[in-house]
């Protein structure tokens, strides 16, 4: 790990300003992903701003009837919140399907949104990776790509976003609230928060330098059957090959987002009109233009079958 200076922030704008004015600075909250990457010198911040004291750790009702989740609410607390369990079951389920008990106790809502890919070539500092070293090339294209992306990929990067939580939040149409170093607050729809890799896979979100996530808001409850189904290589404590977050109403209509297939939680609203027609029809539109590799071509069928299981469960 490279040496760094350290400070504790007491207010959100102060934290944002501290990161903005210090080249190479980063926020640290749970630290479970950042420290892992710092040990491997994939992340080499010169200054860390500890945001754990910012008191952004409560879940409050919004005037619109939704919930406002503080950026520092731990994954365990969000999953266990009675209102989330009752009204946003897909979010509880997604959180509980991710990581381990120890990690969920530390990991925060904002940090989960910002966690980085687990592409093996991003982690292997001896290999080219456009996300880690822009312009160096993508080792995954001709490498082991079983875990990697099949849709929205580019010639520069086929990494996937590893978050379970974000897939549920995409299905729920959450909004990310931030504050910029100049004190201006803004709201970013989760659909616009994560970017596709394109030519700049190292730029993963639409956050500006120093911009700090303060909260994630959920719209009023959607009702329906809320299901998160995750398919992975072992039954617990593994990243998704494919996951489906869905909210399906009694009449068969609904909404869904898919994880494990793209650089961001993958949702195509137009495909949801086909939900009453079944998984095959939805998947054809959802994954239109898919570009898989030899290793991960199975994911197209796996999405269809996982979605089929979700639709069956919703009807049962």
């Amino acid at each position: 790990m490279r040496a760094f200076t350290f400070e504790r922030a007491n207010a959100p704008v102060e934290a944002a300003a501290a990161v903005a004015r210090t080249p190479g600075a980063k926020f640290i909250a749970g630290g479970t992903n950042l420290l892992d990457l710092m040990k491997l010198q994939i992340e080499t911040p010169t200054h860390l701003v500890d945001v754990n004291g910012l008191k952004l750790d409560t879940i409050e009702p919004t005037p619109e009837g939704g919930l406002r989740i503080g950026a520092l609410v731990r994954n365990t607390d969000l999953a266990a919140d009675e209102r989330v369990r009752r009204d946003y079951g897909v979010l509880s389920r997604a959180l509980l399907a991710g990581a381990s008990g120890q990690l969920r106790n530390r990991a925060t809502t904002a940090g989960n949104l910002l966690q980085r890919t687990r592409c093996p070539y991003f982690y292997d500092t001896a290999q080219p990776c456009n996300k880690r070293e822009p312009g160096s090339g993508c080792s995954a294209l001709d490498g082991f790509s079983r875990q990697l992306g099949i849709i929205g990929v580019s010639d520069a990067c086929i990494a996937t976003n590893p978050s379970d939580m974000a897939v549920a939040m995409r299905a729920l149409d959450a909004t990310v609230e931030t504050v910029r170093p100049d004190g201006m607050a803004r709201k970013i729809p989760i659909a616009e928060f994560h970017r596709l890799p394109g030519e700049t896979p190292h730029v993963e979100t639409t956050l500006e330098p120093g911009e700090l996530i303060t909260a994630v808001t959920l719209p009023p409850p959607l009702g329906g059957r809320q299901i998160y189904r995750k398919v992975r290589d072992r039954a617990s404590y593994a990243f998704a090959l494919v996951s489906v977050a869905a909210v399906i109403q009694r009449d068969g209509t609904g909404r869904l987002a898919v994880g494990g297939v793209a650089h961001k939680p993958w949702r195509v609203e137009a495909a949801e009109a086909d939900l009453p027609r079944g998984a095959k029809a939805v998947t054809e539109r959802l994954l239109a233009g898919a570009k898989s590799t030899h290793d991960n071509a199975f994911k197209v069928l796996l999405v269809e079958r996982t979605l089929g299981a979700v639709i069956s469960e919703a009807r049962s």
Binding site: M1, R2, A3, F4, T5, F6, R8, P23, G24, I28, G30, G31, T32, L35, D36, K39, Q41, T44, T46, H47, L48, D50, N52, T76, A79, A80, R85, R86, G89, S92, R93, L96, A97, A99, S100, G101, Q102, L103, N105, R106, T125, A126, P128, E133, P134, G135, S136, A235, S236, Y237
Partner: protein, 211 residues
């Protein structure tokens, strides 16, 4: 007070240093403009309560809570397995919650309360979970055991607190203790010897005795 852990460079540290040099030589040249690195270690003071005792340390900011416990406080019961949050050998209880001590910085726990395996029980006065692991053979080599026991104690508290898990059938009903609940919740603690079934038995016995 002299500190033998800080005066002697041990073999492991030499090997880590050598590995870092090899990685640097193999790394492709960076095309990004990098901010000037901080070249000298940055020292900072941190105080937290460890097993009921307030400890104050002068640490390199890079020191993980795990290394603070093992290398600076010489509480070597907590183990370093993977050092990347994948194995759970470093599990300790901080402010009432189990965490991976390898993936958190010591300086992030100013004023916090840490319970390591040494704080749960002693050889003459075992914690009930320690006694149950002995009774049920919940280990073979023992390396993962301190983490398993810290995790096990916290898991039973989490179930009592009504925190659901991936295998909880009904999110809106009270959480019930079961073998599948224990197995799912303990998935962050890997046992290379495969003592899992005995660990489940040990935890079940403690849970049933707690009522």
């Amino acid at each position: 007070m002299s500190d033998p852990g800080e005066l002697n460079v041990n073999r492991r540290e030499v090997m880590v240093g050598a590995g870092a040099c090899a990685a640097l030589a193999a790394a492709p040249p960076s095309v990004r403009a990098q901010p000037a690195p901080v070249v000298t270690p940055v020292m900072t003071q941190v105080s937290f309560n460890v097993n009921g005792q307030v400890r104050t340390l002068e640490l390199d900011t890079r020191t993980t809570l795990l290394d603070a416990l093992r290398e600076h406080l010489h509480l070597t019961g907590t183990k370093k397995g993977c050092d990347h949050g994948q194995c759970g050998a470093c599990t300790v209880i901080v402010d009432g919650r189990r965490i991976n001590s390898c993936l958190t910085l010591a300086v992030m726990h100013q004023g916090g309360a840490v319970t390591s395996i040494e704080g749960l029980g002693t050889p003459d006065n075992l914690h009930p979970m320690q006694a149950a692991f002995v009774k049920h053979d919940g280990y073979q080599c023992g390396y993962c055991t301190p983490g398993q026991i810290c995790s096990g104690v916290a898991v039973l508290d989490e179930i009592k607190a009504g925190i659901p898990s991936h295998v909880t059938a009904d999110l809106t009903a009270p959480v019930q203790l079961s073998e599948s609940e224990i197995r799912e919740r303990m998935s962050g603690n890997i046992c290379r010897c495969g003592a899992y079934s005995n660990i489940v038995e040990a935890m079940t016995e403690v849970a049933e005795r707690q009522g």
